[in-house]
Symmetry: C2
C-alpha cells in the first residue's frame, strides 16, 4: 500500500493521521502544500477540503473517518464493538470542542470574533475540559477503559493548534490531562515522530 497525505504545513486536522502512521511505523508521503497552491488544488479534491489521503491512488477525505480506519489497523480502535463505541464518543466530544474553536478561527467579522473568543475561553473550553479531566480520572489515565486508544492520540494531536488559536493550554491546571499528554508523548513511535517532524507553530 502507498499512502499520500496532503494537507497544509500545519498540525490541525492532519496530525492525528500522522500520529497513527507513525504509531504503526508505516511510511507515508507527508505532502504539505503552500497556501498559494490551495486555490488550484481545491477544485480537484472530492469535497473542496484537506486533509486528503490517497491510498494506492484512491482519494479519501474526512480526517476522522480516515483516522478510525487507521486506528483499527493500529489496534487503537477498541477490542470490541462496545469499546469502539466509547472511543468514537470520546473522539466526537473532543472534535465538537475543536470545531467551535475552528469556527472562531475562520470567522471573518472582527466584532463577532471578539465576542466568540470570550465565550470560548470562559465557557466552552472549561465546560469540555472539566468533563475530559473527570473522564480520564475515572478511566485510569486514558479516555476509555484504562488503555491507549486513538481518542487519546487525537486529543494530544490538537493541543498545539488549540493553544495557537485560543492562547489557552488545555491541560494547564488539569493533572490527569497533563499526565495523558506525557503518556502519549512518551510512546516511542510518537516521541520519534515528534523529534523528526516539521514543526509549524500550530
Amino acid at each position: 500500500m502507498t499512502y499520500k497525505l496532503t494537507y497544509f504545513d500545519v498540525k490541525g486536522r492532519a496530525e492525528i493521521i500522522r500520529f497513527l502512521f507513525s504509531y504503526m511505523n508505516v511510511d507515508f508521503e507527508d505532502r504539505r502544500i503552500e497556501r498559494e497552491q490551495w486555490p488550484s488544488i481545491k477544485p480537484t479534491t472530492p469535497f473542496g477540503q484537506l486533509p486528503l489521503l490517497e491510498i494506492d491512488g484512491k482519494e479519501l477525505n474526512q480526517s476522522l473517518s480516515i483516522s478510525r480506519y487507521l486506528a483499527k489497523k493500529a489496534g487503537l480502535a477498541g477490542k470490541d464493538e462496545w469499546e469502539s463505541l466509547l472511543i468514537d464518543i470520546a473522539v466526537d466530544n473532543i472534535n465538537e470542542m475543536r470545531q467551535v474553536i475552528i469556527n472562531y478561527f475562520h470567522e471573518k467579522n472582527e466584532d463577532i470574533k471578539s465576542k466568540q473568543i470570550i465565550t470560548i475561553v470562559n465557557e466552552t473550553i472549561p465546560f469540555y475540559v472539566e468533563r475530559f479531566e473527570k473522564i480520564i480520572s475515572e478511566n485510569d489515565g486514558y479516555f476509555v477503559n484504562g488503555k491507549l486508544s486513538w481518542s487519546d492520540l487525537y486529543f494530544v494531536s490538537i493541543l498545539d493548534t488549540i493553544q495557537h488559536v485560543t492562547k489557552v493550554d488545555l491541560i494547564e491546571g488539569h493533572p490527569h490531562l497533563t499526565l495523558l499528554k506525557q503518556r502519549v508523548l512518551a510512546v516511542p513511535q510518537i516521541k520519534s515522530w515528534i523529534a523528526k517532524r516539521p514543526n509549524p507553530v500550530y
Copy 2:
C-alpha cells in the same frame, strides 16, 4: 438489553437512531421531552446535549457514534474495514452539510442569518448535493458499493429537518437521490416505522 432514547419531539439528530432500531426490529423507549423540560434535564446529561441513548442504564451521547454502533449490529456498517471507511466518509460528508444548516438554524443574529441562508441555498446545498448525486450514480443507487448502508439511512433521516430549515427539498431535480429516498422508504421496517411514528414537521 434495554434502550431508552431521549430527544425532543423532532426528527433531527435522533431519527437515524430510530431508523436503525426500527430496521433491526429492536424495541426502544422513544422518550420525547418538551422544550420546557430541557433546562432542568440539560445539566444532568454528559455533555449538555441530546440525543442521549441509555443502554441498560449507561448514558451515551453523540448520535453518529451511537448510530455506527447500532449499524454494526444491523449489518449496515460495511462488510470489511475498507467498506466501513467509505460508509463513515459518506456519513461525515452528509453531516458536514447538515451542520452548516443547523448552525444557521441556531444563529440568533437576524442580519447574519439572512446572509447565511442565501449562501446555504445557492452554494452549500448545491455543492454537496451535486457530489452526492454523482456518488450515488456511480455506486448503483447507494452511497457505498451498490448496497444499503447506514449512510443511506442517515441521508434520508435528515431530509425533513433540512427542508423545514432551508425550504429546500434536497432530492428535487436529482433522480438518483430521489430513487435512493424511495428505496430507503420502501425497506419494510422503515416503511412500518414511518407509518407509526409520531410525525412532527421536522
